[in-house]
Amino acid sequence: MTGQINVSTGAEHTAVLGLGSYRPRRVVTNAEILEQIDSSDEWIQTRSGIKERRWASEDETILMMSTNAAKEALADSGIDPAQIGCVVVATVTHLYQTPAIATQLAVAVGAPTAAAFDISAACAGFCYGVSLASDMVRAGSAKYVLVIGVERLSDITDRTDRGTAFIFADGAGAAVIGPSDEPGIGPVVWGSDGTQHHVISQKESWQEAAGSYQWPHLTMDGNPVFRWASFEMAKTAQQALDVAGVKAEDLDLFIPHQANMRITDAMRRTLKLPEQIKVARDIERQGNTSAASIPLAISTMRENGEAKSGDLALIIGFGAGLVFAAQVIRLP
């Protein structure tokens, strides 16, 4: 055994260098949702906090929304797209089993030869992607990585199911991850619980659906999900603070996946976050956009002045799998 294999070396620290988002044009009110379900505006608002959401039109494809969000993130970061070494797209609504949408996105943003792949981590997808990207930059597999969370959940929503029709929505968010002089992304706390795979799930496989006229919609058993998200995920969020060495009082922002306002409120109560920490409440206007919800929420908070450059944010994604991931990041 004489040959020696070189190993790559990367950056000591990483950070989110730029962020971007895309919100579909069409606003769908609760009144429109109520045309197909037996419920009320008051019930929807008290159970979820959702006042309206956005659903993509035909031309607002996964690729189109991703490209817009990615270009905005690249511009925000000031990084030349040709420097992007890998493109990671988190989505569960790119309705092709193969190829990944990430390769077309790489071409569309000007990184045509970058490594590119999709990940299936549902509502935890963005946080999973940030973790992978940060590790790639630290290991030297890529200097800069583009992470996208994008969904057209309206495509797989059963619009007649009063338990889920009002929740799911569409959009895209993007982040550029790269080297940094100071630590900008804390250690990830992540995991899964496959024993609860059935509580949020596509109803049947594409193969089963192919023989019928039944489109395989997303189903969700609300109460067990609420319990898991509100309490178990609060513990995960606390662990993310602990491993980052950040005290709750030093946080500026708490940006959980926008699953349901009631989950956000319960997590906040369980975590006992100090009053002054600003909490993302983007679900009110965006609904639950799964992998896109965290970067969309950050965009909203930056636009309305709640979030500013240098802020410390606790982000946590959780969803179908069940899967979860949380980390502390510093905003660009």
Partner: protein, 82 residues
């Protein structure tokens, strides 16, 4: 072992903290949904807090049977004695 009144009073504090219902309204004959306006999601929170407070396990299947404050207090008493 905690008395019925102690359990009711502790449970009332939990319901107050989660749903903002005045503690004096949380009486044994009151229905969580009809009288106290505790919806299914708040009920999940109440159950989790009660499990912690009283060191008992309240299975998901059991929660739908806990219609009144008295039902919940009785379940907790039985679970503590069992």
């Amino acid at each position: 072992m905690a008395s019925t009144e102690e359990i009711r009073s502790n449970l009332a504090e939990i319901v107050n903290e989660i749903a903002g219902i005045p503690v004096e309204d949380v009486q044994l004959d009151k229905s969580f949904t009809d009288d106290l306006d505790v919806d299914s999601l708040s009920m999940v929170e109440v159950v989790v807090a009660a499990e912690e407070k009283f060191s008992v396990k309240i299975p998901d299947d059991e929660v739908k049977n806990l219609k009144t404050v008295g039902d919940a207090v009785a379940f907790i008493e039985r679970a503590q004695n069992g």
